[in-house]
């Protein structure tokens, strides 16, 4: 009896979290499916998806989401890699640098949008600086609805500022798992910094890069508050449209269809990264 109780113990300890996550994640996925595909009479149809796709903002939202993704993610990987390598170089005060670089992790996308609003808005700090330097005669209208490129650039800057930190932390953790001997050996054979980064660091960092890419891409599909804060609905994005369908248009079915689409894209992106950046099991540190 006693023995049985002991062997059941780990499952008992695990049960609450498993049950909770199943209820709060699997059940809503099923619910999203029903909402998106079922009509009011209970039949299965694609009406919600057709309604979603026929909306004028939809194509734009898809395009913007992917353009933002393709611009921001590579930029973040490069910036984060530079930051992580700096931390790894064991400068004096590296813990302070790590803290400073990691600060944006604690900032929500809404707050980040508002921070950059104070900089990019018509009478904001950027225009103030440029005017004081005499580089412009009158304020630039960076966030005007007539200037979609300006808004796009502002979102790219704000998102790179906020969300590079998380990639950096993942890469620093990955670098720490690479034995120091590897770097020293490469140095001994005369490899310069660039060569060492390219031939030694990057291949060994592949598991961390994979994690970082998946997390960042999945987050990019959910981006919306930073865009709302800077430009309202002038620059439609997928998650923002899902929010608008639910909140302003009061249409849960189309909103659920968009949620379903975002889930599908997330799944797809994860599979692509897992296949393209194959990581063998023994490379994955436990």
């Amino acid at each position: 009896m006693r023995f049985k109780l002991e062997s059941a113990l780990p499952f008992g300890l695990l049960f609450p979290s498993v049950a909770f996550l199943a209820l709060l994640i699997l059940a809503p996925i099923g619910q999203a499916f029903l909402l998106a595909f079922q009509t009011e009479t209970g039949e299965f149809a694609l009406a919600a998806f057709q309604r979603m796709a026929s909306d004028t903002a939809f194509n734009e939202a898809v395009r913007n989401t992917f353009l933002l993704l393709l611009t921001i993610v590579p930029l973040q990987i490069v910036l984060a890699l530079a930051m992580a390598l700096l931390i790894h170089a064991r400068l004096r005060g590296q813990t302070l640098f790590l803290y400073v670089f990691a600060i944006p992790m604690a900032i929500s996308d809404l707050a980040a949008g508002l921070v950059w609003l104070s900089i990019f808005t018509e009478r904001g700090y950027l225009n103030s600086i440029l005017q004081s330097l005499g580089w412009i005669q009158q304020p630039l209208l960076l966030l005007s609805y007539q200037n979609p490129q300006g808004i796009f650039a502002a979102v790219v800057v704000a998102e790179s500022w906020r969300a590079t930190a998380i990639v950096m932390v993942i890469l620093v953790a990955g670098l720490q798992m690479i034995p120091r001997d590897f770097f020293e050996a490469a140095e001994l054979f005369g490899a310069g910094t660039l060569k060492r980064t390219w031939y030694v660091v990057l291949p060994l960092l592949r598991p961390s890069l994979q994690t970082a890419l998946i997390i960042r891409t999945l987050f990019a599909f959910q981006t919306f508050a930073v865009v709302f804060a800077l430009a309202g609905r002038t620059l439609p994005v997928l998650a923002g449209e899902a929010y608008t369908w639910y909140y302003s248009n009061r249409n849960p079915a189309v909103a659920a269809a968009m949620a379903f689409l975002i889930l599908l894209l997330s799944l797809l992106a994860t599979v692509v990264y897992l296949r393209v950046l194959q990581v063998r099991e023994e490379e994955r540190a436990r």
Partner: protein, 275 residues
Amino acid sequence: MKLPTRFSPRTAWSRGLLYGTAMLFALWVLTPLYLIVLAAFSRRQAIYEYPKSLLPFNLSADTMTFFVTSTGVWSSVNHSVIVACATIVLGLLLGAPAGYALARFQFRGRDLFQIALLVTKMFPVAILSIPLAVSFIQWGLYDTLFGVVLIHTAMALPFVVLVTRSVFFGVPQELEEAAMTLGCTRLQAFWRVALPLALPGLAAAAIFTFMISWNEVFAATILTVQNRTLPAQVLTQLNDSPIYYRYAGGFFMIAPALVFIFIIRRYLLNLWGAQ
């Protein structure tokens, strides 16, 4: 003691370059933070001045006072704190036992559970608030703080389990076993020996949970109407509020997070780095 002579001018130069780059990155992170503090602590009228001064000579609590006394703001701050604290309690109650089990036992399905954790850690949980809202209306949980607590707990749970796992890894199992040979039951050994040693790590998990909940915008906005959390309140007021309200709101949301991330900076690598 003198350093060995490997210290050549060339390495000195490259170290300088490294420091310079690190400083540049630090400026890139800190300058916008300085500017939002400046914006949030200017007089309301100063928002319209142009070109603005970048020096902090005209600070005032005027804008912040206006923000905090605006309709709905203070109650939304209270809601945010209540939701975040309840998320911590629920998250630790559900997650810490699982973390302990992963740290102490080998059992069938252990690897499967850890993979499931990684998947949920990355999973776009916030998006699920749309179907959840429909269920919550049926269950009577829509527009309640408890409903928001539930989805925030789902977001934080994988992190809580991963952190508590590494925390309990760090508490030697031998100590618990010794306590048990001295007559403690397993529960007593956990309560009197393992738990006190694990407290700092559990506190870090709690703070990280607070940050997840405090910062969460999408689900909190979808799932509430009256009982808004602070981010939900600010987001839904964006188009109807003066610009200084938004600056003050931005600063108010950032301020606690800065303190918290400083406290848990040692655990950051564990939270996101663990594969």
